[in-house]
Amino acid sequence: MINVLLVGAPNSGKSALFNRLTGLKHKVANYPGITIDVGSGSLTSNPQVTLWDFPGTYSLSPVSGEERIAIAGLRSALHDSQDALVAMVLDATRLEKGLTYCLQVAREAAQAGKSFVVLLNMMDLIESDSLELDVSGLGTALGVSIYPVSARTAKGIAAVEQALQTGDQNVAPWADTPDALIRGTAQQIGKRFTPKGDLLVRRQALIDQWLLGTVSGGFAFVIIMTLFFQAIFTWAAPLMDGVEAVVIAIGSIMTSVMPEGFLADFVGDAIFGGLGAFLVFVPLVFILTLIIGALEDSGYLARAALICHRPLSLFGLSGKSFVPLLSGVACAIPAIYAARTMSSMQERLLTYVAIPLMPCSARLPVYALLIAILIPNETALGGLIGWQGLAMSAIYFFGISTALLVAAVVNRMGDRDRSGGPFILELPAYRLPASRTIFSAALNRAGHFVRKAGSAIFAVTVVVWFFGYFPNGGEDLSSSWLASIGRFIEPVFSPLGLDWRYGVAIIASFLAREVFVGTLGTIFGIESADADLVPLADQITASGLTVASGAALVVFFTIALQCVSTVALLAREANSARFAVTLMTGYLVLAWVAAFVVYNLAAALLS
């Protein structure tokens, strides 16, 4: 058994190398501080070798959560009796930034008698720009074995694999070097071996001139974010129509070949009505992850964080909140983890307050369904603007501004020092996104979404169907068991203009928000006398949901914190169950009150 510890500065390609060597799919992105926990996997070519992917760190003095985890993890691995080989990953294009940490770790490893090698990553960039880097000279200066490699092109990977399997690597010669000398030496070595000229910095500055310009930077930010949201819907729409057509086609065939009765009704109502209604929205999640992935790997996120720093600090947040908040547009869980990289505890807590209000992808099916019902599928300005896409953008805007406002209010309530923590962020080089990686990450995520939400939806639809179908065999939904239960809870929802069917779906959605769509699909499936399968949106439209009630539903889902895993993770990461429970109850009450107000306003305006 050999343990290989992949450590190094943030954004140097540790996770990319890890994925190459293990065949696993840890998250890789062009932003410092992506890996927030130590993960492991075994070497593809030799399962006896276990690799450990660490969060990035600039030195042995941590300032944020994931760095503390990295350093504690490293120290405990070094002082473990098991064999360990430290593999320090250095970014060849930004040599100097990793060298202090490199020598510091080399010293600790030497003191613990563990061997040490350097993996000089990103060599593809050095080669493509024909920069000169004396690799063996660098190895000699550091006194360790060094392996030039590229995680992107896989060049040099075979040699690395070989090296990691032979445990007989050197112990680095820095065991007795004091810290001051380490820092000085790192600087000297960096100066000596950094490729001459500042080609890479200049190339990056050329793009930054536009993306960070006082005026052009603001424009670019707005355009990129608008494209981001528009693309989700315009690109996903044809995929969604495709999935819907397939689901309905298969469902029709299935129900037509089955003998009429109980089983055919179950398959038609629960499986295709319930689960199928949800599957239609999976392409949205796929496209969303794809676009976020492309944005993350381009290097733009760090620029967006910079641009947002001042505006966000008005709300008590910081530029470092940007990436967690943006991740919250996909899902609150990775967003909460991402907030670990924030060094100021106060800003981090406020970010936790805002994250559950970000329009996460679990809400997307609900929004998309309601929009399909309430907003005509028409375009204006010669096809330039689709009303449905615009409505979706408006909902997102509403969610995001609520998140910021609530953060600001909470910030005002606690009158602590309001000047905010220091903002220090590395700006990575711009890079063409690695299309294969982000594509497979998006597929992965969509698959995960289907499995997780799908199983919850399946379980709920079966239960809902059972109670809705009996005791009268689907003849009359309004006298079913489900209706009796529904009428019991109806008083809570009737002030929002919603009858018991929506009440049941809302209650069920506390298991997972997507369940809302599946539950409604099942209920309307039982209700429709039609033997043919009809898209859920058409059924609800036909049943006459008013605009005011629809708006109330949207508002309720935008604010309510209906996700058990989010609450559990918040309690853990904020280290306070009270914090998490207060947030959940607070958002629930706020959601109901806001929905009530919107329903009554809309009803008054439209009557």
Binding site: E96, Q187, A302
Partner: protein, 89 residues
């Protein structure tokens, strides 16, 4: 002109114009000590040359290149980095 300038021969990083390049003289106690330590760790050390790359408007954090990498620092952090006042020739 030979009017004597102020006795201090240094200024803070925040004052640099775009494209200007200076040598770091010292890191003054940042508000949080961890910030000063972090600055040193990422390369803002005595004797290093640092270049200002971008000054986005509205008080946004600015962009600096040091040791081949680029970082963005907000005002409260950048004023802790003292750089040499260079005579223009």
């Amino acid at each position: 002109m030979s009017i004597p300038t102020q006795p201090s021969a240094s200024t803070s990083l925040w004052c640099l114009a775009v494209g200007e390049s200076r040598e770091i003289v010292s890191i003054e106690g940042a508000k949080a000590d961890s910030a000063a330590q972090r600055l040193v760790d990422i390369g803002f050390r005595e004797g290093q040359r640092v270049t200002c790359l971008m000054r986005p408007g509205f008080g946004a954090p600015r962009v600096y290149a040091v040791g081949g990498a680029t970082y963005s620092l907000d005002q409260q952090t950048a004023i802790c980095v003292i750089v040499s006042e260079e005579s223009r020739t």
